[in-house]
Symmetry: C2
Subunit: 365 residues, 2 copies
């Protein structure tokens, strides 16, 4: 089959790779219908060699598809079922899964980060390929409800797998309630998802900070009540204060989580509020910096983390079915599998009009 | 009257100072019966000059006493009432007070930090003195219930003003539930209070990390189920894992909040858990360091902050009345007002057997 593989930093290619097969009785093999390229995939693209990625590893932790084959111990799934996958493998039975923190499952591993040593459950290859092996399939896969099946709804469902659930996790962690004021830092796919999610949570103000006019336009379409484009902390503070009755935001969703974004986050957040850190720049050595004096004096909480997708899938699918969420507009481009490497470059270069690129293995090249 | 005043770094003295008087119709004057010396007072003692303290400023934000005089607009209080004071002045009516975050009150100021520019409500002098002026007295003072009045119960009530409520705030912020495992870093008064509070919250394990045998003995008497004395992170991790079934603590209450303590906190906390930062070492430029990779990957929340005392006073007084809390053992020494400066040195030098020193202006010199 064809699959996107890592060859070295800034070198990913679509190669002929072995077809995945059932290796354990709890495995399934899924035929991928749509797979996203995530901002965190760009970290691998940049510096995978430093992370321990060996050439030949396949990328992609965001995918939906159709069950092709199931092992003898996979309950509740059959070939032909349309499914979305958790980014992280989870067993559904450990203490953390029972608590809804599937991203800390005892059997955890992350699709497409196969070579990393912090895999507990054995390496799993990525989903930017025609087929993918899914361990512990009964808990790692989630059926797509009937009303959201089929090709037309895939751009709506795919973002729920990671970017939309990650943003939702940030909003939940920050305790966002109806009527709250929310600032979202960043206008990438997670940022737009946070904007969209905050609107779905009936935030009274949703302010998006970003620097790309085309993305900020999209943010407004997805629910932002205002946008701020300044890079100067004091200007950001002044504008956000004016937009929030002088008080600041109950929650700041920082999708970058670097030094500058955290400075802006402290400037925007109200006393007793929360900053959700969803960015992964610290993977690249750019460590966020908390203003500890502010954190202490004004009781600022720091939250956010790797999303336990399955904890939110039913809720998010329900909101989509109810017409209250539709993250499809952040998926700007869909390419056939053989052009997947081009998708990385489109996102990497932040080309105008590009937010998120997906790969559809069924699409003619 | 006599009052402890700041003369310069490492130079506090008890001087004759003007008697406080009602300055605004919402003021009260309180005759102090017992005033604590807080760990944060030692920060002023060390470096008050850098903080902007001018010679002559009076210290002390932890005090209880008897109402001496009230202004014409003070409802619900009369001379003779026994009261505890919030460390922070609060108006009881602003948005933050209504939410229970009185430490961010619009009229906020902090007793005994008078010279700081971040006073919103006008400077207030400290309570380590015979009398103290209390602004917005109706909301800043809290009546002591009848069963806890009188000299014998003062060592029980005084710690509720700050150290016990601060520790409680950390436990609440970390979301500690019955059955949870709690690690407390530090064996000072806030650390012992966190131990005692965790036990009152029916934690299944309360592990105190410290280095002073006499204080750790006290920790055990106050509810610690185990103590750890190592300074080595890996040793701490191993011991805490052994004490927590290999999983770690649901909550870590870090009463130091420095680089080493935060490293230990990350080593002790379980995935999805919280670290409450209650220390103020960052006031002294010792900035805590979050392990951001761990924070993200394991969903660790960072919480803690300046305590909104009045939000907890009724609950804590109720627990004392019910016999479930008695923080008196952490108050190891009570001195007459004229020996207050000696109290600072006793705490500063961490003399054996000294945890917390209080000043009783009514005590014969």
């Amino acid at each position: 089959m064809r699959g996107l593989t890592f060859h070295g930093n800034e070198d990913v290619r679509v190669d002929d790779v072995p077809d995945p097969r059932i290796e354990r009785p709890t495995d399934a093999v899924v035929r991928v219908t749509l797979a996203g390229i995530c901002g965190s995939d760009l970290h691998i693209y940049h510096a995978g060699a430093q992370f321990g990625f060996a050439p030949g590893g396949r990328l992609g932790h965001e995918f939906i598809g159709i069950v092709e084959e199931v092992g003898p111990e996979v309950a509740g799934l059959a070939p032909g079922d349309e499914v979305m996958a958790s980014c992280c493998v989870c067993d559904g039975t450990c203490t953390y899964c029972a608590e809804g923190l599937q991203s800390s499952c005892a059997s955890w591993s992350l699709f497409g980060w196969a070579p990393r040593v912090w895999q507990h459950g054995g390496a799993v290859e990525g989903g930017q390929s025609e087929f993918v092996r899914v361990p512990l399939a009964a808990s790692t896969l989630h059926p797509i409800p009937e009303s959201l099946r089929g090709e037309a709804r895939r751009p709506t469902v795919l973002p729920l797998v990671d970017v939309m659930s990650t943003a939702w996790h940030g909003l939940v962690g920050a305790g966002v309630q109806p009527g709250d004021r929310v600032v979202v830092i960043g206008d990438g796919a997670v940022g737009l998802s946070a904007v969209h999610g905050a609107a779905a949570k009936d935030a009274s103000a949703v302010i998006c900070l970003g620097h790309h006019p085309d993305r900020l336009e999209r943010a407004t379409a997805l629910g932002a009540t205002a946008v701020v484009t300044s890079r100067d902390t004091e200007e950001i503070r002044a504008q956000v204060m004016e937009l929030t009755g002088g008080e600041g935001a109950h929650a700041v969703i920082d999708t970058i989580s670097g030094t500058a974004s955290m400075e802006a986050a402290h400037a925007c957040v109200r006393a007793g509020g929360a900053i959700s850190c969803l960015g992964m720049d610290h993977f690249m050595g750019k460590t966020p910096a908390i203003n500890w004096f502010d954190q202490f004096l004004r009781n600022i909480r720091i939250t956010g983390g790797l999303v336990p997708g399955p904890h939110y899938f039913d809720e998010l699918l329900g909101l989509v079915e109810a017409g209250r969420l539709d993250p499809a507009p952040m998926l700007t481009h869909t390419l056939p599998i053989d052009r997947a490497a081009e998708g990385y470059r489109m996102m990497e270069e932040r080309r105008e009009g590009v937010v998120k690129v997906a790969v559809a293995p069924g699409l003619a090249a």
